[in-house]
C-alpha cells in the first residue's frame, strides 16, 4: 500500500470516528482526526495529510465551506490534497456543490462498511 498513507478524518460523531480509526489503524494508515473546522485547521499546522475524509454536517463551519477554503486558500497547503466527502447527505444540491468545489469523491457513509475505506483511499491514487 504505497502512496496515500497520511489520512486526516474530519468527523464530529465520535462513534463513527472511532469506527473508521480502528480499521485505518489496522491497515497501517497514519491517521489524525478533527471534530470541527477549528481542530482541522490546527491539525493542518503540524500534519500534512495525503488524503482528507471530510464530513458535511459539522458544528460551526460546514464540510462544504471547509472544502472551499482548502481548495482556494494556499495557506492550508491542501489545494492538491485528495479530499473525499464522507456524508449521509445525498441531496443532489449537496453532491453537485461538492464536486464543483473540487472534491475528489463523494461517499454515502451508510452505503459503505469501514472495511471499504482503504479501497476508496487507494482508488484515489493517480
Amino acid at each position: 500500500m504505497a502512496g496515500l498513507k497520511n489520512v486526516l478524518l474530519v468527523e464530529d460523531d465520535p462513534m463513527i470516528r472511532e469506527m473508521y480509526r480502528i480499521i485505518l489503524v489496522d491497515r497501517q494508515y497514519k491517521i489524525e482526526m478533527a471534530g470541527n473546522s477549528e481542530e482541522l485547521f490546527k491539525k493542518l499546522e503540524t500534519f500534512h495529510p495525503d488524503c482528507i475524509l471530510l464530513d458535511v454536517m459539522l458544528p460551526g463551519m460546514s464540510g462544504l465551506e471547509i472544502l472551499k477554503l482548502l481548495r482556494t486558500d494556499p495557506k492550508y497547503g491542501c489545494q492538491k490534497t485528495k479530499i473525499v466527502i464522507l456524508s449521509n447527505l445525498a441531496q443532489r444540491s449537496v453532491t453537485d456543490s461538492a464536486i464543483e468545489l473540487g472534491a475528489d469523491g463523494y461517499v454515502i457513509k451508510s452505503d459503505i462498511l469501514p472495511k471499504d475505506l482503504p479501497e476508496i483511499i487507494s482508488s484515489l491514487e493517480d
Partner: protein, 765 residues
C-alpha cells in the same frame, strides 16, 4: 325646440335670398342698362339742343350788336357827323335816337373825348360830358380806330346798358362803301386819324329779355360773359350785381382758354351742369348755355321711378312666394324633424304623414320603414342584451367564485376583467386593476428569469412552474393562457392562474422531511452496520451457531433498512425533479450477467435457480447510467426471487427488437392479480404496499425503476397475466453515436465521481 327654430330660420332666409336674387337681379341689371342708355341718349339730345340754342342766342345777340354797330358806322361816314357840321350832325343824331327805341343817348366826342353834342330821348343834352377818362374813349384809342362795345352796366331802374363807340375816320374810298361793316370804318394810320368818336348808349333790356328768358329743358338757362370772364348778362340779376367777375367758373374759364364744345362742368353754385359756350362775333363775348345734369336727366327719373316700383313689386312678390314655398318645404321637413326626434327618443311607432306627391313623401315612407326596421333591430338587441346580461351574470358568478385567479385582457394587454383571487396574488383589490397593463403588475419569472406568457398568437398555452415574487415570499403558479382571435371581441386573452404555492410547499416539506429523516436514520445505521462488520473473525468463532444466525439476521436487517432509506431518498429525488442519470456507453449483456451473478448465491441458498439467456452473442451497447440500471435490475430480479417458491426458477432474458434491446425477468411464482397491475408502477401503490407488506419492499422499487427507465427513453411493464408466474420487462434504445455521443461527453466528469460512489453503494447487496 330652440334648435328647430334656428334651422327653420336658416332655411327660410336662404329661400328668401334665393328668390330675391332670382327675381331682382335680372330686373335690376336690365333697369340699370336701360337707365344708362337713356341717360346717354338724353345727354346727347341735351347737348344738341344746347348747341342749337347757344347758336341761336349768340346769333340774335350778334345780329343785335351788328345792327347797332352798322348803323353807327353808317352814321360815322356821314360827312356832317365826321366834320361836326351843324345843324346837320345834330339832326342826324336826333333822327338816330328817334328811330332806335333802344338808343338812350347818342353823343359826338371830339378827338380829346369831350362831348360836342349829345341827344337823349328828350332831345339835345345841354350839359356836355368829358369822356376822356371813359373806357369807351380809351378803348377806341387803344383799339386803333376800331369800334368798341362796352360791358353791361345798369341804370337806376336796373335796366342793362351798353355803350358802343365808333371812331370817326376819313373814308376809304378804295372800299365799297355799300358794304358796310366794322371792318371798314375808314383809314387809320395813327391816333391822329381819329377825328372824333360817335358814342351811343343803348338800353338792351329787350335783348336781355329774350336772351335771359331762354329756357333749356327744366332748369336750363343762358348767360353772357365777356372775354375777360366778366358777367355780361345773367338771368339772376342779384347775382349779376354781386358776382361780376366769374372767370373762375369752370365753363367760363374753359371758354377763356379756348374750349368751345359742350361738356359737363360745375356751375358757379357747385351744381353739375352740362354747358355749351358760344363766342360772339362783335364783342368777344360768349353766350354760355347751361343745364343742370339733374335737369338733363329729368326724363329718366320717371323711368327710374317706374323701375323702382316694378322692382319693389317683384321683391314683395318674391317674399310672398318664398314664404309660401318655405312653408311647402318646411312643414314636411318639420314633420320629418319631429319624427326623427321621436325616433331618437325611442318612439319607433311614430309615423310621418306627408301627402305631397313628391320626393318628400318618398323620404317620409323610407323614414317610416326605417323606424320599423330600427324597432325590429332594437327589440332583437334588447332580447340579446337580456340574454347577454344573464350570461354575463352567470359568468361573473363563476369567475368570482372560482378559487383560481382569472384575468381577461384586451388587445392592448390591459385588464378588462379580474377576479379577487387573481388580485390577491399581488395584494391588490380587483377594482384597482382595471385598465392596467397585466405584465406591469405581474412580474412572472421562470427559473429566476423574467417570463412573458404568449398573449398575441391565438391558441391555448399552459405554463407550469412559474414564480411570482410577492414581498419576501414567492408564489408558485401554473398559468393557462387562452389567446382569442382579437377581431371578435374586446377580450384578447384569458389567463387562468392556479396557485401551486401551498401544494408545492407541502410537497417540499414532505420531501425535505424525507431527506432529513433519511439522513438522520443513516447515521445510526452507519454505526450499527459498521461496528457489526468490525466484529473480527476470532470473536465470531466463539459464538454459538444460533448466535451467528442471529448476527446474520441483524446484518440482513440493516441492509434492508439501508435499501429502504435509499429508495425513500430516490422517491424524494424523483418528486423534486432531481433524479438525474449519467449516461455512458454501457454494455448491457455484461451488466445483466454481472447482476444475475450477484444474486446467484442468495438464490441457491433458497434453493432457487436463476439463469441468464441472451439471444445476442457479444456486446450490446445502450446509452445508460450504470448505477441506475443496476438498481432497476436488482429490483426486478430481487422481486422475482422474493415471490418465487423454493425450487422455483427465475429467468433473465435479453433480446433485440428492431433498434431496441429488451430485458425480461420471468418468474414462476403466483403472478400479479389483474386488479393490481394498473397501479403497480405508481407511487400510490408503493405507499399502500409498503404499509401492508413493508418487509417485502416491493412497490417503491417499481416506481423508481419506471422513472429510471423512462429517463433512459425506454419502457417498463408487465406482460398480461396468464394465471401463472409473471414477466416484467424493460426496453432501452440501442446506442447510436450520432444520437447519444453528445450526452456522454457532456456528463463525463460528473458521471465519473457519481458513478464511482454509486457503483460501490449499489454494488453491495
Amino acid at each position: 325646440m330652440h334648435q328647430r327654430k334656428m334651422i327653420r330660420l336658416k332655411i327660410s332666409s336662404k329661400v328668401l335670398i334665393y328668390f330675391l336674387v332670382i327675381a331682382l337681379l335680372p330686373l335690376f341689371v336690365v333697369t340699370t342698362l336701360l337707365v344708362n342708355s337713356a341717360k346717354s341718349q338724353l345727354l346727347e339730345a341735351a347737348k344738341t339742343k344746347q348747341q342749337i340754342i347757344a347758336n341761336k342766342t349768340a346769333e340774335s345777340v350778334d345780329n343785335f350788336l351788328a345792327d347797332k354797330i352798322n348803323l353807327l358806322v353808317f352814321q360815322s361816314r356821314d360827312y356832317s357827323i365826321r366834320k361836326f357840321i351843324e345843324p346837320d350832325s345834330s339832326q342826324n343824331l336826333a333822327v338816330l335816337i328817334r328811330q332806335d327805341a333802344d338808343l338812350e343817348k347818342v353823343s359826338l366826342l371830339d378827338p380829346k373825348g369831350v362831348e360836342k353834342v349829345a341827344f337823349n330821348k328828350q332831345g339835345p343834352v345841354s350839359k356836355l360830358t368829358n369822356y376822356s377818362d371813359s373806357d369807351a374813349y380809351n378803348a377806341v384809342i387803344f383799339l386803333k380806330g376800331r369800334e368798341f362795345v362796352s360791358s353791361v352796366s345798369y341804370n337806376k331802374n336796373g335796366d342793362p346798358l351798353i355803350t358802343i363807340a365808333v371812331p370817326l375816320l376819313e373814308n376809304d374810298f378804295s372800299q365799297n362803301l355799300d358794304n358796310l361793316s366794322q371792318a371798314n370804318l375808314g383809314i387809320y394810320k395813327s391816333s391822329d386819324d381819329i377825328k372824333g368818336i360817335l358814342l351811343a348808349n343803348y338800353n338792351i333790356s329787350d335783348l336781355w329779355q329774350s336772351v335771359l328768358s331762354t329756357k333749356i329743358g327744366q332748369g336750363g338757362y343762358a348767360y353772357v360773359v365777356d372775354g375777360l370772364g366778366n358777367l355780361v348778362a345773367h338771368p339772376n340779376k342779384k347775382y349779376l350785381a354781386t358776382h361780376q367777375k366769374i372767370a373762375k367758373v369752370q365753363a367760363v374759364s374753359e371758354f377763356i382758354n379756348g374750349q368751345e364744345d359742350t361738356r359737363q362742368t360745375v356751375s358757379e353754385v357747385g351744381l353739375d351742369v352740362i354747358s355749351t359756350p358760344h363766342k360772339l362775333v362783335h364783342s368777344g363775348w360768349a353766350v354760355i348755355v347751361e343745364e343742370p345734369v339733374t335737369s338733363v336727366y329729368a326724363g329718366v327719373n320717371s323711368f327710374i321711378k317706374l323701375s323702382a316700383i316694378i322692382i319693389l313689386s317683384a321683391a314683395v312678390l318674391s317674399i310672398i312666394t318664398s314664404l309660401i314655398f318655405r312653408n311647402q318645404l318646411l312643414i314636411p321637413i318639420r314633420k320629418l324633424t319631429f319624427g326623427a326626434k321621436k325616433l331618437g327618443s325611442g318612439d319607433f311607432d311614430h309615423k310621418i304623414a306627408i301627402n305631397s306627391n313628391d320626393e318628400l313623401r318618398e323620404l317620409a315612407t323610407t323614414f317610416n320603414n326605417m323606424g320599423l326596421n330600427i324597432k325590429q333591430l332594437v327589440s332583437n338587441l334588447e332580447s340579446r342584451n337580456v340574454h347577454l346580461f344573464i350570461e354575463q351574470t352567470k359568468l361573473n358568478g363563476i369567475i368570482g367564485s372560482v378559487s383560481d385567479g382569472i384575468i381577461a385582457l384586451n388587445a392592448k394587454g390591459e385588464i378588462v376583467t379580474v377576479n379577487p383571487p387573481a388580485a390577491k396574488l399581488i395584494n391588490k383589490q380587483a377594482a384597482e386593476l382595471y385598465g392596467k397593463i397585466m405584465t406591469d403588475l405581474y412580474p412572472w419569472e421562470r427559473e429566476s428569469k423574467h417570463f412573458a406568457p404568449e398573449l398575441q398568437k391565438p391558441g391555448l398555452y399552459h405554463y407550469t412552474d412559474l414564480v411570482l415574487p410577492r414581498g419576501s415570499d414567492v408564489l408558485y403558479l401554473d398559468l393557462m393562457v387562452t389567446v382569442i382571435e382579437q377581431k371578435q371581441s374586446e377580450v384578447a386573452a384569458i389567463i387562468s392562474i392556479h396557485d401551486q404555492t401551498q401544494a408545492r410547499e407541502l410537497d417540499y416539506m414532505k420531501l425535505d422531511f424525507v431527506a432529513i429523516a433519511a439522513h438522520e436514520l443513516r447515521t445510526p445505521l452507519t454505526v450499527i452496520q459498521g461496528y457489526l462488520s468490525l466484529l473480527n473473525a476470532d470473536a465470531i468463532k466463539q459464538l454459538t451457531i444460533y448466535n451467528i444466525e442471529n448476527l446474520q439476521k441483524a446484518i440482513t436487517g440493516t441492509t434492508q433498512l439501508r435499501n429502504l432509506i435509499n429508495k425513500l431518498l430516490s422517491i424524494a429525488r424523483i418528486e423534486r425533479g432531481e433524479m438525474e442519470i449519467n449516461i455512458g456507453k454501457l454494455d448491457l449483456p455484461k451488466l445483466v450477467k454481472e447482476i444475475v451473478g450477484q444474486h446467484a448465491t442468495a438464490a441457491s441458498q433458497k434453493e432457487q435457480r436463476i439463469a441468464f439467456n441472451s439471444s445476442v452473442a457479444g456486446h450490446v451497447f445502450v446509452p445508460g447510467d450504470i448505477s441506475s440500471l443496476s438498481e432497476v435490475l436488482n429490483n426486478l430480479i430481487g422481486n422475482a426471487l422474493k415471490f418465487t417458491e423454493a425450487g422455483g426458477t427465475v429467468q433473465v432474458n435479453l433480446k433485440m427488437i428492431n433498434d431496441m434491446v429488451r430485458v425480461e425477468v420471468v418468474d414462476d411464482g403466483p403472478g400479479v392479480p389483474t386488479e393490481l397491475r394498473a397501479r403497480l408502477f405508481t407511487k400510490f401503490y408503493r405507499v399502500e404496499r409498503s404499509l401492508i407488506a413493508g418487509s417485502r419492499g416491493t412497490g417503491l422499487g417499481l416506481y423508481i425503476s419506471k422513472t429510471i427507465i423512462e429517463l433512459h427513453h425506454g419502457k417498463i411493464g408487465i406482460e398480461p397475466y396468464t394465471g401463472k408466474g409473471s414477466t416484467f420487462y424493460f426496453t432501452l434504445p440501442i446506442y447510436d453515436p450520432k444520437k447519444h455521443g453528445m450526452l456522454i461527453s457532456n456528463k463525463k466528469e460528473a458521471g465519473g465521481i457519481h458513478g464511482w460512489f454509486k457503483k460501490r453503494a449499489t454494488g453491495r447487496r
